[in-house]
């Protein structure tokens, strides 16, 4: 897009932080009229934050939003965006599952009221579905919750393109093809080109790089909350796009690991697990004292695999077996990790409660001792371990969760992306702790969405669509390989032809 070309939206200097994590660092983005813009980047690159700021669902900390040349002030929100003709199809569905397709259309359009509203809503959505996805087979009177995920996604997309009184200028499609099959995905992208040719605009994110390369006019690449590349799509190919998204793990760090490399298989196997949707022979194997990384895009079955391993402790299963006690460190701290009403000490010792029993009661002395010991060891910043857990910062709360697992008898520690929203200082401390514990014989299975963290692992499994699709020894581990495995080609070809 030329600098002078007319723009539908233009964002300048967008900033947003979540606690210590900077999600957007002064990002500029513009979408031209009649342009399809592709936005790509790995997990945590800031794509979603930027899209949410544009759609009005998230208020940025700073920056300016211009829609159709008019500056928007702080009361810019999703309703205002809708009125200005900006529609967004989010990854998490925004349909009401208890309503029919037509009723969901009604919720979206205030104009659809009065006698015969149901018929008009049904007609509206039916026509749009027919236009975008010919042969979709969805009845406008079907209850959305009863539809399979792919059809729900079609309804969601078609609804975003329906028009009553508000104009339609820009549609933001966030991973729209993630739950569509290849045919429907193709139908949608063809429709997008038609809309763009008619003067509409589109902002598309997708982890299917082929879609972005083939259907977008221009591609913006984000990394670590900044735009690192913005060029016409024709100037990218698959390799240069992957290269632009990634960052090279520092040579020094790799060198440090090479020095400590150990012979795999010298120690006994302690974890063996196969994902539920794995159809071939691929399985996860962890030897005693290893740090195993689980990589891939977020939500591709990594957490489910961890839970499968965790369940193997209490239930025999053909697909997962472990030897030794296991502990899980949750990534979603507030929901799965801390007991919000409890003290730091209680939160820290809950996993070890059996070891702290004196006859049938909890030995308070032993409990306080254990908590105090770990407070020293990992430097939890608090005046007293009897304070409430919520008096700690997020990073320190996460330290308590690490201490909960490491202070217990667990020999196998499962980590569900535990560094989400943790500051850099804490991260470095915890990395050292994990290394030290692994050397003393503990085994770690570590799901992480941050590629840099994989450099700490002895062996990495990459997951996609609930299956292990790559198995990388540390010597062979490069970021490019992980990205290639994570981003699939539409044709099913595994990444770049090497």
């Amino acid at each position: 897009m030329l600098e002078t070309a007319p723009r539908i939206v233009s964002l300048t200097g967008m900033m947003k932080s979540f606690g210590a994590v900077q999600a957007l660092a002064e990002v500029d983005l513009a979408v031209g009229i009649g342009e399809c813009l592709g936005l790509v980047g790995h997990n945590g690159a800031g794509k979603s934050t930027l899209i949410n700021a544009l759609a009005g669902t998230l208020r940025p900390d700073g920056g300016e939003i211009l829609v159709n040349g008019a500056a928007q002030n702080t009361d810019y929100n999703v309703r205002r965006a809708h009125g200005l003709g900006i529609r967004c199809v989010f990854q998490e569905l925004s349909l009401c599952p208890n309503l029919s397709v037509a009723e969901n259309t009604r919720v979206f359009h205030k104009r659809l009221r009065g006698l015969g509203w149901r018929r008009r809503a049904a007609d509206l959505i039916q026509r749009k579905l027919d236009e975008i996805f010919p042969g979709h087979g969805i009845s406008p009177h079907a209850i959305v919750g009863d539809l399979p995920i792919g059809q729900r996604q079609m309804v969601e997309i078609a609804r975003a393109f329906t028009v009553t009184d508000d104009p339609l200028r820009l549609v933001i499609l966030d991973e729209p093809t993630s739950s569509l099959d290849a045919v429907a995905g193709k139908q949608l992208l063809t429709f997008v080109r038609k809309i763009v040719a008619e003067g509409g605009s589109c902002l598309l994110t997708s982890h299917l790089l082929g879609d972005v390369l083939d259907y977008c006019d221009r591609i913006v690449v984000m990394k670590d909350g900044s735009v690192v590349a913005a060029r016409p799509a024709a100037e990218f190919d698959r390799a240069s796009l992957v290269a632009a998204m990634g960052n090279v793990v520092s040579e020094a760090r790799i060198a440090a690991h090479e020095r400590t490399v150990r012979q795999r298989g010298a120690t006994p196997v302690v974890v063996r697990a196969k994902p539920a949707s794995q159809t071939d022979q691929g399985e996860l194997i962890a030897h005693k004292g290893e740090i195993i990384g689980l990589a891939g895009l977020a939500g591709h079955g990594q957490t489910r695999l961890l839970l499968r391993i965790y369940e193997a402790a209490s239930r025999k299963s053909a697909d997962a077996s472990i030897t030794g006690p296991v502990a899980l460190i949750a990534g979603d701290r507030q929901n799965d990790g801390v007991f919000q009403l409890w003290s730091i000490a209680r939160n820290l010792t809950i996993r070890s409660i059996r070891a702290l029993l004196k006859s049938l009661l909890i030995n308070n002395h032993a409990e306080t001792d254990l908590a105090a010991r770990w407070r020293e060891r990992i430097k939890i910043k608090t005046p007293s371990v009897d304070n409430n857990i919520l008096s700690l910062s997020g990073g320190n709360q996460q330290k308590v969760l690490f201490a909960r697992a490491l202070g217990s008898d667990a020999q196998i520690v499962l980590m569900d992306d535990p560094m989400r929203g943790v500051d850099v200082g804490t991260k470095l401390e915890v990395y050292d702790l994990i290394r030290a514990e692994a050397e003393s014989g503990r085994t770690f299975v570590w799901y992480t969405t941050e590629i840099e963290e994989l450099a700490h692992c002895d062996h990495v499994y990459v997951m996609r669509d609930g299956r292990i699709i790559a198995d990388l020894a540390r010597a062979a581990l490069t970021e490019e390989k992980i990205l290639q495995a994570s981003f699939q080609d539409k044709t099913g070809r595994e990444g770049l032809a090497a």
Binding site: R79, S94, C96, N98, L99, E103, R106, V107, L112, R118
Partner: protein, 316 residues
């Protein structure tokens, strides 16, 4: 044509929809089998007379359940409405109606409080139940009061062919169905239970939605209180204590769910009628009415177990 029908019947969704009506039919058939005389105009009028206030309270509870809340004060509130009506409706009707309207406004205000402060509805309504009960006891420490003749006449009206309780419950079901299931605003109200964030983002005010639902619940509870006064002619503060749990059971029996905005007004009324009939069923079986609550619980468990089975089938 036949192929279409069999396809529909083997569809678990249809089974789930038919379940409330089927359970009512089973209870009715059981009653008629024991006592043929119950299957008459007079028998049905007698057995079902309390179905009217219970159905109204159940519809009130259904509005609350639609937005994923639970009202534990409906029984006490119906009692208060009955006491207010028993005290003033005959002597000072205008003042009485003003008081009842204020009660409905108070209900809307509770909805606003729950929405704005993001409070658990169970806690707020449990607290309010003591307020309503306290007010009712202050107003009417002992059973008594004067009931206007027109209300008594309405509740004991004998229309030709169809007994009044059946006619009344049909009308209640129809009104609630049109309001919540057929109107365009009803779709938005139910959507607020299914995916509140989506409804908010589509530009609707969740505050107004919740206030409307609570006001509707208050309105139907007041009607329930009036119906009860017309039937008993001597209200007291504890007259409707059982209605709180009965109304929840009615909605659930009728195919409603606690979360997700999945409710059915017609089903809820059927559920209320079924629960009302269990009392008569026990009397015909010569079992002490003390067992009534236990029997209602038994029916509820049986129906929920069946529904769980259907769900299992759906999942497969």
């Amino acid at each position: 044509m036949i192929a279409v029908m069999t396809a529909n019947l083997s569809d678990p969704r249809w089974l789930r929809r038919l379940l409330p009506a089927a359970s009512l039919a089973i209870v009715l058939i059981a009653i008629f089998a024991i006592n043929q005389r119950a299957a008459s105009y007079f028998g049905l009028s007698l057995m079902l007379q309390y179905a009217v206030p219970i159905a109204l309270a159940t519809i009130a509870q259904m509005f609350i359940l639609t937005v994923n809340d639970l009202d534990l004060s409906i029984g006490a509130f119906v009692g208060l409405a009955a006491c207010i009506a028993g005290t003033w409706l005959a002597t000072e009707p205008a003042f009485c109606i003003l008081l009842l309207v204020l009660c409905i406004a108070a209900y809307a205000a509770i909805g606003a409080l729950i929405q704005l402060r993001n409070l658990p509805s169970i806690v707020v309504t449990l607290g309010m139940s003591f307020v309503w009960l306290g007010l009712a006891v202050i107003l009417m420490p002992t059973p008594g009061g004067i009931v206007p003749d027109w209300l008594k006449a309405l509740m004991s009206w004998k229309p030709p062919l169809i007994p009044f309780p059946i006619l009344a419950t049909l009308i209640i079901a129809l009104v609630a169905h049109l309001l919540l299931m057929e109107s365009s605003i009803g779709a938005v109200l139910r959507g607020a239970g299914g995916n509140p964030r989506a409804v908010d983002q589509a530009g609707w005010s969740l505050l107004k939605i919740r206030m409307s639902m609570y006001a509707l619940a208050g309105f139907f509870s007041v009607l329930s209180g009036l119906a009860l006064v017309g039937l008993t002619t001597s209200p007291d503060a504890h007259i409707a204590d059982r209605y709180t749990l009965l109304s929840i059971a009615g909605v659930i029996l009728g195919g409603g769910e606690f979360v997700g905005g999945r409710v059915s007004p017609v089903g809820a009324v059927i559920g209320a009628v079924t629960l009302t009939l269990t009392g008569s069923f026990l009397i015909f079986m010569r079992i002490s009415p003390d067992w009534q609550i236990g029997a209602q619980g038994g029916i509820l468990i049986a129906v929920l177990a069946l529904r769980a089975l259907i769900k299992l089938k759906e999942a497969r």
